[in-house]
């Protein structure tokens, strides 16, 4: 039927650091279709949920039919298709970022915004995730706000950005 539907336009995401994390996982698993669950785990960890275009990307990369991927996602309660939080804030806790204060950032988020990794704000505006090394070590400490990498973040600045996001809707 239709081809080139925007849903399956996997190229879209090459610049998204979260996609890079999934790409790394795919490579590590040798693009084996058997690795679907593991790859989905990685994707859910960095996005907080599994957006359709990400599923499309994974389906293509593992040469699995879309419906097969969707079936697996909906079979396990662990996976979620719906966004937990309108906005996501992914704090890198890889070695370089950790050394440069990732934990301090997380503490600050907890004290100022009241959310810990894996949690979502009550109004569903923001979800906090953590990931190990997003491949931007030169910019440590790094945080990904929605799909934008924030490098060399300072505490006050990042908290303000998060609050702006939450307010902007």
């Amino acid at each position: 039927m239709k081809s080139g539907s925007s849903l399956l336009d996997a190229e879209l995401h090459k610049t998204d650091p979260r996609v890079k994390l999934i790409a790394a996982k795919l490579k590590k698993e040798n693009f084996k279709p058997d690795a679907l669950i593991e790859v989905l785990h990685t994707a859910q960890n960095v996005y907080g949920h599994l957006p359709l275009n990400v599923l499309a990307y994974i389906s293509k990369a593992l040469s699995l039919p879309p419906s097969r991927v969707y079936s697996t996602v909906t079979f396990y309660h662990f996976f979620s298709l719906k966004s937990k939080g309108e906005h996501t804030c992914l704090v890198c806790t890889g070695t370089a970022c950790y050394v440069k204060g990732a934990q301090v950032i997380l503490n600050e988020i907890e004290s100022k915004i009241g959310l810990r990794p894996g949690q979502v704000s009550a109004d569903n505006q923001l979800g906090i995730q953590v990931a190990r090394c997003i491949g931007a070590c030169g910019l440590a400490p790094a945080v990904v706000l929605d799909d934008e990498v924030q490098g060399k973040v300072t505490l006050g600045e990042i908290i303000n950005k998060i609050i702006d996001k939450m307010a902007a809707k």
């Binding site: 039927m1 499309a56 039919p65 969707y70 079936s71 909906t74």
Partner: protein
């Protein structure tokens, strides 16, 4: 190959090892009710209609997925089996919205036939009346979840015979549904070739061509096996 001796309904038969109980019964015109079985694709044992009793086993086993073994003593017509067939059939009807009078498949539906066969005159279970979608986005075909019994014949035909794998199953329990691609409209499928095999395979009025009026639907599920046989000859 040495044949195995088995007993079905107190008669002795010789059959080749590797065959399923269902295959042997069909060869000898012993009736077994089936719904998810479709000759030409793999069996999955999903519908539990083909249950048979085997002496020495307390559990009923599905004839379609159970291979014969030497000296197996099989019963296909016991009261216990009939009871389960009734229950299974009633549950099919109670799980979705089957309004035969307005269904395209009225008169040619395998589910309707089954109801008659097991002598279903009423349904003892509460109807779930789930909210079901009708997908009319495909230019030629319709998928009506109201009539679907989750036999997955369409899924297997599309995957194993056509090689397209448009269909699969989402969710679990009573929320299971047949889905196209990412649970996206069939008309937007990037995998479906519009070959129409799933329509032929579907036992009910869940899948049908738009160019058909109510009660006029003719299905030919046997074509799937014929196709597989012809392919073997080509190879």
């Amino acid at each position: 190959m040495n044949k195995l001796t088995i007993y079905i309904d107190d008669k002795q038969f010789q059959a080749e090892p590797g065959k399923s109980i269902l295959e042997v019964c069909r060869e000898h015109d012993i009736e077994i009710l089936t719904m998810c079985h479709l000759k030409g694709v793999n069996d999955v044992g999903a519908c539990r209609l083909c249950l048979v009793e085997i002496e020495g086993m307390s559990k009923l086993l599905s004839a379609c997925t159970t291979k014969i073994t030497a000296n197996m003593v099989i019963h296909t017509k016991t009261e216990r089996i009939k009871k389960y067939q009734r229950i299974t059939t009633e549950l099919f009807f109670a799980e979705r919205n089957h309004v035969c009078a307005v269904c395209v498949a009225n008169g040619t539906c395998e589910l309707q036939d089954l109801g008659y066969k097991v002598g279903m005159d009423h349904i003892r279970y509460p109807f779930l009346f789930p909210k079901c979608e009708v997908d009319t986005s495909h230019p030629w075909y319709v998928m009506d979840q109201n009539r679907c019994i989750m036999c997955t014949r369409c899924v297997r035909v599309c995957n194993e015979v056509e090689g397209a794998h448009n269909w699969d199953v989402k969710n679990r329990g009573y929320q299971v549904r047949i889905i196209s691609d990412f649970d996206t409209p069939w008309g937007e499928s990037i995998t479906c070739t519009s070959c129409g095999k799933c329509l032929q395979a579907c036992p009910t009025g869940a899948l049908w061509p738009k160019a058909i009026v109510q009660g006029q639907m003719k299905k030919n599920p046997e074509i799937i096996d014929e196709l597989m046989e012809r392919r073997k000859m080509i190879l």
